[in-house]
Symmetry: C2
Subunit: 527 residues, 2 copies
């Protein structure tokens, strides 16, 4: 636990005791304060709005030149947001936001003692227009579309700020800074930037670099002298949420090579250490987020999130222990692993009727595997997974593995050289690495090297509000990363084809994956 | 005459031809443009408002990535104000303002070809509240006083901008930048900064440094993406108008030592060269601006601005050749010189009745010298100067000379070491150096060393709108100057007493001043 002095050393609140002016030292108020702050912070410049200057003479004289300064900034260029008498200090808050396509996470931080006050989540209100990135970008093609989407997210954020303030008994003026980490498209829509070029070759965002702007510029209701920090991106498919994640994981400070994978419809991967970093992103398909199968669903009450093999017994586990409604991504991966290991799926990912026995149903000429019979499901219907669903999962897992081998081979290292394998994102948090290894989605590393790290985006967004050092790291990270465009060439396709087997055509790559246990019984139960 | 290329090299308009993005070069639009601009301008940073970013993708693609950029900034940190297709260029204007206590001068500049479009002047509308600095500052003590004074000047400027735009057929959006050079108090009132501490020991302005701010922050109606540059000051009594003047005269680049004097109620003096600079300011009293004598007036139609001795004939010259109404500062100095040289004033500055003969009238027990008899004046009344008026002038000229000797002696040089003596200010423009030397107001240097330089403030304000190098010089100048507080101690008072003679007790200091020509006839005539 750091003490108050240490917190101030790295944070945005600075106590300043100035020598009062005299005939021999008649520097003006603003210059007197900023030159002292520049020394304290090792800053290149201290800017402030005119309104802060207007009130400065009174504040300095009322406080006998002992003041507390609230700052925010970047690249050693700081904005002085407010100056208060040292002996009369109100709380100072910062608001970190993880701006997801589906969900928006808010974390309120006390910038005085560096504590977390609350964390809340809302659905991204743009979801009412279109659920995914692509559809939202298309929506901006119509007149007023961009403005509408921007208004939805700004209004949604403002509403939630209100809710947070009311719930915690604070006023919006006490929130001095905000940080926003989101993917490139969500960030564009938030800023009102036309996002069309993001999805059209050659995939160009309006801006890569970070942006700091006054809240009023976006109509955000926090302290009007405050500042909003928007994370930079590396490109259309590697957004500020990932840079924020790298910051949260301190990958840029580590000597050992680590890899971070954000698993979703897009697989975003970054590999490296303090000396180098390489990133790429590729389509993994919706299977990993369970956007394909009929019974696929995002994690929610009644979703089968875990399927295990206990001796000969297969058991499932649902969220909130509700009767099963469907299956979410982590459950689907577990299922495929279990089916493979029980011999019910062959190495091509095809159902083996002899092994599946009466679990295999033919519906509309397509083989379906009965996961939960109608009498045990919440819907009163059979929950089944079709061969098509499995094929889709196989393609997704093959894409993921191919991306991982491509990025490591591009820098001449082997996947086994990776010391830590971070699985990020809310979905990633639920994946059982053993199952993912079994189906050959991720490399066969010792399980201890896998770390499920949850929402690193909100974590990194919080860190820039608490530490000057961390905000400076953002540009280091951004400048540090080489973005590798995934060329879907013959070599890539060869790798992809090889990865479409379970776990892989080259089984030497997956020594720990057990061969199918032909003859095990499929029995199900709730845990 | 510089050609277009050279103008662009030093100016605020930059033409940029960018390589269009491709898969191998997918830098975002903003970053693509700013990195090129940083190279072209050797800039540390290029910032822009969100609104500029929003329109950038369209402008870049419409122009095939050939654009013209309008920038403004300081300290190698530039603001990108607008981006336009290179082949579709509208005029770009800048507006320089000399913000005087009495008069406000506007100069509209074409930033494309660096030409002056127009120059106009208005009375400072704050004059309706109070004529001088001190009274305006006192006015801010009452509630709403500061806001009222600020509104008056902002409204006045906006009105004049409207007038200028209409007269020149341009729109306000084409004015992208403004520069403001004024004394410290006028600058404070313009910015809405409380000015009270300026006039109270230890005389502390709110701010010394320059300020760049968006026009909307002050309610100024030019292009809303534009910027307003406010000159810095060195202290309460050495304002941005003088820093602007130093810039205009290039004093900071010269090897030879020069001095600039702005003559008015306050005498502001700066002395130095490219290696060092020292400044001071002191009260000279209102006599030099003709604020004392009954017939004193500021320069205007009918003011006697020049009095000369042609052989035995004394002639006067009035502004616009109107019948005389009064006498302005330069005329008053001429008159004193002529009276002294004709023996009608003695070395103490007292009228010599024997020499003045019937020109000397006694009014209210005080001696008055008849300058213009009633039958030749525009008022139909005698225009006279009293002994009190002359005494006041003597004190003012003595103060001026004392300030000049004090500042030169403080750096161990002699007044004769000064290679160029700039007399600045609108009033200064009319002073005849010979007369000023005769009465001992300024040192007895070869006349060729005197240069009347007129309004250097508007000149310097214009230069920062035309040249990046010049705007960078502003901070060099500001950091360069040592401000010397004038200590009115015994030594100063001794010097002052010695200087209260005409031309001085030590006549060796004024070898060129002729002794009185006793017996010359005073005759007057219009020229």
């Amino acid at each position: 636990m750091k003490n108050q002095d240490e917190l101030h050393k790295e944070g945005w609140i600075q106590y300043v005791a100035l020598p009062p002016p005299c005939l021999d030292d008649n520097t003006a108020d603003v210059d007197r304060l900023t030159s002292q702050l520049k020394r304290q912070l090792n800053a290149a410049s201290i800017d402030m709005e005119r309104s802060v200057m207007v009130s400065l003479p009174h504040v300095l004289r009322k406080s006998n030149f002992n003041v507390r300064c609230i700052l925010f900034g970047y690249d050693h260029r700081y904005q002085l947001l407010d100056v208060q008498p040292s002996n009369k200090c109100l709380p100072v808050y910062g608001l970190a936001i993880d701006l997801g396509t589906t969900r928006v996470v808010f974390r309120l931080l006390d910038l005085c003692n560096h504590s977390k006050i609350t964390e809340t989540t809302i659905d991204n209100p743009q979801g009412e227009i279109a659920p995914d990135v692509l559809a939202r970008i298309h929506y901006t093609d119509q007149p007023g579309g961009l403005e509408h989407l921007q208004k939805l997210i700004i209004d949604g954020i403002n509403q939630q700020i209100q809710n947070i303030c009311i719930a915690n008994g604070i006023i919006t003026d006490q929130i001095f800074c905000m940080s926003i980490a989101g993917n490139t498209c969500m960030t564009h829509l938030f800023l009102g930037f036309p996002p069309q070029a993001i999805i059209r070759e050659p995939y160009i965002p309006v801006v890569n670099r970070h942006i700091i702007l006054p809240p009023i510029d976006l109509g955000l209701i926090i302290n009007p002298q405050g500042r909003v920090f928007v994370f930079p991106n590396i490109g259309s498919y590697f957004g500020g949420d990932l840079i924020s994640g790298i910051l949260a994981l301190d990958m840029h400070h580590q000597t050992e090579i680590s890899i971070m994978v954000d698993v979703g419809t897009n697989a975003e991967v970054v590999l490296g250490n303090k000396d180098w970093m390489i990133a790429c992103a590729g389509a993994a398909g919706p299977a990993l987020e369970s956007g394909v199968s009929k019974i696929g669903m995002t994690a929610g009450p009644g979703a089968i999130e875990r399927i295990k093999q206990d001796n000969q017994l297969f058991t499932w586990q649902t969220i909130d222990n509700k009767k099963p409604v469907g299956i979410c991504g982590s459950g689907f991966i577990d299922l495929a692993a279990v089916l493979f290991q029980s011999g019910m799926l062959d190495i091509r990912g095809k159902f083996v009727p002899d092994q599946c026995q009466d679990r295999l149903l033919i519906i509309d000429d397509i083989m379906h595997f009965l996961v939960v019979p109608d009498d045990r499901s919440a819907t009163g219907k059979d929950l089944t997974i079709s061969q098509i669903d499995i094929d889709s999962l196989i393609r997704s897992k093959a894409a993921m593995y191919t991306i991982l081998t491509t990025i490591t081979q591009s820098v001449g290292i082997d996947l086994t050289d990776v010391s830590v394998f971070y699985v990020a994102g809310t979905f990633g948090a639920y994946i059982d690495p053993s199952s993912a290894i079994t189906i050959g989605m991720i490399p066969d590393l010792p399980r201890s090297r896998y770390q499920s790290v949850g929402n690193t985006s909100i974590e990194g967004a919080s860190r820039v509000l608490l530490s000057r050092k961390d905000i400076e790291s953002v540009s280091d990270i951004q400048n540090h990363i080489t973005y590798m465009e995934l060329n879907v060439n013959q070599e890539f396709m060869n790798r992809f084809s090889a990865a479409k087997f379970i776990p892989h055509t080259d089984t030497k790559l997956f020594p720990s994956v057990k061969r199918p246990l032909i003859g095990s019984m499929y029995r199900s139960g709730e845990k």
